[in-house]
């Protein structure tokens, strides 16, 4: 903090950001300043912080997760297609047998990504108490995670979520978009983000292509500050202002996992009403190019590079037809 406090930009509040200080002054110089500050500060600490840390760790002890009979889970799986979709899409395995990690999607098609009402938040708190050892986390994907759900409880949890409008089975799919607040709420924005996300979600749902396209990460930022981390989206959308008109630049092949990659710019940007058809051209190209349905968008991109996607994106004939 002290190192940044002294080095950060003071002349322009839009540039008063750590990443800009590091970019302008260099990582090495800033790291040295932090290390020097750390050495100075350290002497003031007697070591009691370790005792405090131990106290905090004790408060995060893993909950007891006894083995439960999963009969209810299997019965619901056999009987209820909605439940199957939810259990397939929004639940991943827990390290404890008989438990799952549930993503509660805040990406209902056409809704504001990441929004929940006060009533929904109260409901989530109650459900976390009832079904997830009192734990609930917010993910960077703008969703809510219930980390310790017994599979035996999953049908009841799913019913309760669906009743509260929180049962959308789309975690990791094309409608599970990270979008920054953009022009609708952010004073720094150069373009809208939220309506682009909403239109993409409803458009691909209407086309019936969501399951077909499978796992994909689209991320949208409304200005170069990149709060939506568009540059590490498989498809990134960056909203800019070109002479007073919104213009959306597309990046491809970004990756926020351990195979981290910054997306490649495809070329000229698109107007607000052109961006959804542009994304559709990219994804139709993917569907045509993939070797098998199991090959995800990012895997196809890694295999083929950007060229075939760019060709589809800037194909004028296809653009007129879209």
């Amino acid at each position: 903090m002290a190192a940044y406090n002294l080095a950060g930009r003071r002349d322009n509040k839009y540039k008063a950001r750590l990443k800009i200080t590091v970019f302008e002054g260099g990582l090495e110089a800033f790291r040295d300043a932090v290390e020097a500050e750390f050495a100075r500060t350290r002497a003031a600490f007697s070591g009691v912080d370790q005792a405090l840390l131990a106290e905090i760790e004790a408060a995060f002890a893993p909950p007891a997760l006894p083995l439960r009979d999963a009969g209810a889970y299997h019965a619901a799986w056999a009987a209820d297609a909605d439940f199957r979709a939810f259990a397939t899409q929004n639940v991943v395995a827990h390290k404890v047998p008989g438990y799952g990690i549930v993503t509660v999607s805040l990406k209902a098609h056409g809704a504001t990504p990441g929004d929940a009402t006060a009533a929904q938040m109260r409901k989530l708190a109650d459900l976390a108490d009832a079904y997830s050892a009192g734990e609930l986390r917010i993910s960077h994907e703008q969703n809510v995670i219930l980390p310790h759900v017994a599979l035996a409880d999953l049908p009841a949890l799913h019913r309760a979520l669906a009743a509260a409008g929180l049962g959308t089975a789309n975690a990791g799919l094309i409608s599970d978009i990270i979008a920054c607040p953009g022009m609708d709420y952010c004073a720094l924005a150069t373009a809208r983000s939220i309506p682009v996300a909403q239109e993409l979600a409803t458009h691909f749902k209407a086309l019936g292509l969501e399951q077909e396209i499978g796992q994909i990460k689209i991320k949208i930022s409304g200005c170069i500050n990149a709060c939506g981390h568009h540059h590490v989206g498989h498809i990134g959308i960056l909203g800019l202002d070109r002479a007073g008109v919104e213009n959306y630049q597309i990046t491809l092949g970004g990756d926020a996992t351990e195979r981290a990659a910054i997306g490649e710019k495809t070329g000229p940007g698109f107007a607000y009403d052109e961006i959804v058809p542009a994304i559709e051209r990219i994804l139709r190209a993917y569907l045509a190019l993939r070797q098998a349905p199991e090959e995800t968008f990012i895997e196809t991109f890694r295999r083929l590079g950007a060229a075939p996607f760019k060709a589809a994106l800037y194909d004028e004939g296809a653009r007129d037809a879209a």
Partner: protein
């Protein structure tokens, strides 16, 4: 004119000795020399959003400066506790700020030794 704020409230200027002005953008290395002086060190704050003076104060104390240390500028009452924790003895505010935020609002933050998480961690 200005008002000097201390834990017990507002005061008029009562320092008659030498004063060394320290601007917010002073390089910390320069502070080593002034840390030995017997003058009052007056650290300038251009506005309440520029917190560099807090870091400079802490550096001065770490370098052994034991004399009177003053924060001067349009700080707000909520920042009084942080100024004290950083090592300032007092805050000098313009009259206009003293009118907008009268004495009780500053005295309300004279409890700056309480609830300090850094102090808890330092031990």
């Amino acid at each position: 004119m200005s008002v000097i704020v201390r834990d017990d409230g507002f005061h008029a200027e009562d320092w008659a000795g030498p004063v060394v002005e320290i601007a917010a953008d002073t390089a910390p290395d320069v502070l080593v020399a002034v840390a030995q002086s017997g003058a009052l060190l007056r650290v300038g704050f251009a506005n309440f959003g520029d917190g560099r003076g807090f870091t400079l104060a802490r550096r001065l104390r770490a370098q052994g400066f034991a004399g009177r240390l003053r924060a001067a500028g349009p700080l707000v009452a909520d920042q009084y506790a942080m100024a004290r924790r950083s090592g300032f003895d007092e805050v000098e505010i313009p009259d206009a700020i003293a009118v907008r935020q009268p004495e009780p609002q500053w005295i309300a933050r004279a409890n700056w030794r309480e609830n300090t998480y850094q102090q808890r961690l330092r031990g």
